[in-house]
């Protein structure tokens, strides 16, 4: 099936070449980091996780979001999603590959990564996270591939792929739950120390993932002859709408507890993120923008006139995606570390090397995504034609 | 199947290229160098185990040592003759490097020959190097 991915237009190849170039630059930047250590990043003693782990967290959400097409199709027999489930699964594959790469580049001793499995530690959440992430990646590769192959051959997919699809649903929930548990079980990090963190992560994932999928559907429609279907897009929009509302709701629950209780350990982080504190305020404009984007898109999406307007919808999806990205990709990790447990305000900003590596990984993810989507679209065209 | 010839030629080229490093190594292979025993080690008479055991499995022993010393606090090793030794690779006179104080001739020679780069010295100090 991969052969369909090497027969493409000139535009397709230029796009891949551009991505490969950025990935190459990212790789060179990583070589520098590998040589010199993580000192080339903006991370510090006080903010010991930065951009890499933040992107990882956000992308786990995008991967988990794929389940929002799988679940209605397999559990509720919602036929309209039949044509795009494979897109959801392939999006998850690309996102998870990026997640794993972000974990690797974040390690101080990447050559020892297998120690996680050589000395399995069931008490550590990170151990479980590697298991569920790899498990979900494998599931999506197998399911996506097999279902597409069956479609190409004009036969029904094997029964066992359906069983795997059912298994992948709780797996999707678990990858983001376990990722939230990385943070929310730590004493002394009060920004994360909240039971609503995992639900909040899931809500933002189910908004960001499908929003991104809608945008991808538009692109697929533009560049290939495969049409994911208007109905499917509109239903996805509904899912995005409810998920972003729930996400905003959880955020306000959090804000209420923090500010009504007025427990300093909790308020300091919110103050830092949204108002600035002790002269540290670089994230304030970002966080306020994020809040405006999330609340604004929630209001607009809930109004059918806007949600069902296929011209406006991509703008709303971009708003959701950008808002949740700032929330998780910028604020969530830094916010937990500033101020430090000793109440010292050390701010964090990524360095150039860090950004180049990040863009490199995004490019690798987009290469995987492009190739897989090209394959899916070509086969769907082929079957139709 | 008229592509047979091309396929076989291609395969041959592939196998030759793939195994080239081995041929290359064989061609330039030299006999293994002999480690130089430092005067201090020679004066001590014997290592903690026989020369044969040490040559073959010093890396396994060191791996055991580092686990037991750091993780279980067991820093005394009783060798097969019942003699006690200090479990330490590099700290002070009473350690591996304390006796074998000629890293370049004793350790590096063979490691270079075998093309292995153990990261022991990233942390553990070679007594001579640090004295300089």
């Amino acid at each position: 099936m991969l052969e369909t991915a090497i027969k493409g237009s000139k535009k397709y190849w230029i796009w891949l070449l551009v991505l490969a170039t950025i990935a190459g630059i990212g790789f060179l930047a990583y070589m520098r980091q590998f040589q010199l250590g993580l000192g080339v990043t903006g991370m510090s003693r006080d903010v010991s996780w930065g951009f890499y782990i933040a992107q990882f967290t956000f992308l786990v959400g995008v991967a988990a979001g794929g389940v929002m097409v799988v679940l209605p199709y397999y559990l509720h027999d919602y036929k309209k999603f039949g044509r795009i489930t494979v897109l959801g699964e392939f999006l998850a594959v690309a996102a998870l590959i990026m997640c794993l790469l972000f974990i690797v580049v974040d390690l101080g001793q990447p050559m020892r990564i297998l120690n996680v499995w050589l000395y399995p530690t069931p008490g550590s959440v990170l151990f479980w996270d590697t298991l569920v992430l790899n498990g979900y990646l494998l599931l999506n590769i197998i399911i996506g591939w097999k279902v597409l192959e069956a479609e190409r051959n004009g036969v029904a997919p094997a029964k066992w792929t359906k069983v795997l699809s059912y298994i992948s649903i709780p797996f999707a929930i678990s990858i983001h739950t376990v990722t939230a548990f990385l943070y929310c079980g730590l004493p002394g990090r009060h920004f994360w120390l909240t039971a609503v963190l995992a639900p909040r992560f899931l809500a933002s994932a189910f908004a960001a993932g499908p929003a991104f999928l809608i945008l991808l559907c538009y692109l697929v429609r533009k560049f290939t002859k495969f049409d994911p279907g208007e109905e499917a897009i509109k239903t996805l929009a509904k899912i995005v709408c409810y998920a972003i509302i729930i996400n905003v709701f959880f955020f306000f629950c959090e804000a209420f507890v923090v500010y009504y209780s007025q427990i300093p350990d909790h308020t300091v982080h919110f103050n830092y993120l949204f108002f600035g504190s002790h002269g540290a305020n670089s994230l304030v404009p970002w966080m306020r923008t994020s809040l405006i984007l999330m609340v604004g898109s929630a209001i607009l999406l809930v109004i059918p006139k806007f949600r069902n307007n296929l011209k406006i919808l991509p703008v709303l999806c971009l708003m959701v995606f950008a808002g949740t990205w700032i929330d998780k990709g910028l604020g969530m990790i830094s916010g937990g570390f500033v101020p430090s447990p000793m109440h010292i305000y050390t701010e964090y900003a990524p360095t150039r090397t860090e950004l180049l590596i990040t863009f490199g990984i995004f490019s690798i993810g987009f290469i995987v995504l492009t190739v897989l989507f090209k394959m899916a679209a070509s086969i769907k065209e082929e079957v139709k034609g | 199947m008229n592509d047979k010839k091309i396929a076989i030629a291609g395969l041959t080229v592939f196998i030759v290229l793939f195994t080239l490093p081995f041929w290359w190594n064989m061609a330039k292979a030299k006999p293994a160098p002999k480690p130089v025993i430092s005067d201090k080690a020679r004066a001590a008479g014997a290592c903690i185990e026989s020369k044969d055991v040490m040559a073959k499995s010093h890396m396994k022993l060191l791996d055991e040592w580092r686990v037991l010393a750091v993780r279980e606090g067991k820093r005394t090793f009783v060798n097969s003759k019942g003699v006690e030794h200090n479990v330490s690779f590099s700290t002070g006179e009473n350690s591996c490097l304390g006796c074998h104080n000629n890293k370049a001739e004793f350790c590096d020679k063979c490691h270079t020959y075998a093309n292995v780069t153990p990261y022991c010295w990233d942390c553990h100090l070679d007594q001579k190097e640090s004295a300089k």
Binding site: L36, G37, L38, G39, M43, R45, D46, S48, W49, I103, L107, G108, Q109, R112, N115, V116, L118, Y119, P120, T121, P122, G123, S124, L126, F127, T130, Y183, L186, P187, R189, P264, D265, F337, S340, P341, M342, I344 | V53, L61, E64, R66, V67, L68, V70, R71, E72, G73, K74, R75, T76, V78, N79, S80, S90, T91, Y119, C123, L125, S130, K132
Partner: protein, 275 residues
């Protein structure tokens, strides 16, 4: 070295792994608050019965749960600096110019930073400026050990939270887990910042990409010496076995009011402060 002896180590290691694999889960589930406070027996066993080639040193001093009492009123800025200097010198802790990425094992900090939960606008001036020594608390219920995915950081049989630098993958989960800011990460090769003439060959340096912290001088206890900071403090820091009611630390705890850092978090620090 006979083969049977090596086999023993392997078997012992594997069975220990089995037990260890099950216990963290149980610990995590069971440690809701009821962490044993009763006196523990000294757990150092001499495996005389089995043919193990490894033993603890004869000169080593043992305790069931090592701890410290720091008398802050006896430490002024000068003594605090000396304590830090001694510890950092014997452990080859580098002096890193970029303060954001520095490495610290024991250091003086402000009261408001060491005890941020004891905020008080009417705190007497003398306490505000007093140097308070901060270091790893060697918690009885350490969150860093729980978080570590490779057991590179672990609590040893004598209550010391140890780092196995050979095994650390540098994920820095332990740094996020520690509520005391006691852990440092080697953002770059520490040897770049060490004066080769001053490196103490009696203790290894570290390599880039691993986390480090105070090890309560485990290497000194193994040869019968007390921790270096205790020695340098001239009586201001007292070291001993918290599990032994007759120990000097317990006597101090009996006769003084002491506090520990962020007690509400349930980490059960082994470092006590007399203010």
């Amino acid at each position: 070295m006979k083969n049977s002896r090596r086999e023993f180590i392997k078997v012992a290691g594997i069975s220990a792994l089995g037990v260890a694999a099950a216990s963290p889960v149980l610990n995590a589930l069971a440690s809701g608050g009821e962490v044993a406070h009763e006196e523990k027996k000294v757990v150092v066993k001499e495996e005389s019965s089995v043919d193990s080639p490894y033993k603890t040193n004869k000169s080593a001093i043992h305790g069931a749960r090592w701890g410290m009492v720091i008398n802050t009123s006896m430490i002024d800025a000068k003594k605090a600096a000396k304590i830090t200097a001694v510890c950092h010198a014997i452990h080859n802790v580098p002096e890193i110019p970029n303060k954001k990425q520095e490495i610290k094992w024991i250091w003086p900090d402000k009261f408001e930073h060491v005890f941020p939960d004891k905020e008080d606008p009417y705190l007497a001036e003398k306490f505000k400026e007093m140097p308070v020594m901060a270091l790893c608390n060697h918690c009885d219920n350490p969150p860093c050990v729980r978080a570590c995915p490779t057991k590179a950081t672990f609590k040893n049989s004598e209550g010391i939270v140890m780092m196995d630098f050979h095994r650390c993958i540098g994920c820095r989960f332990c740094m996020a887990a520690c509520p005391y800011g006691s852990r440092s990460f080697n953002f770059s090769d520490p040897r770049k910042f060490l004066d080769p003439a001053k490196i103490d060959p009696a203790f290894p340096t570290r390599m880039k990409g691993v986390v480090e912290k105070c090890n309560l001088c485990a290497e000194r206890l193994a040869i019968g010496k007390i921790p270096a900071c205790v020695e340098a403090s001239e009586g201001a820091i007292v070291f001993g076995d918290l599990a032994d009611p007759k120990s000097e630390v317990r006597k101090l705890l009996n006769s003084n009011f002491t506090i520990r850092r962020k007690e509400a978090l349930g980490t059960l620090p082994s470092v006590y402060y007399i203010i």
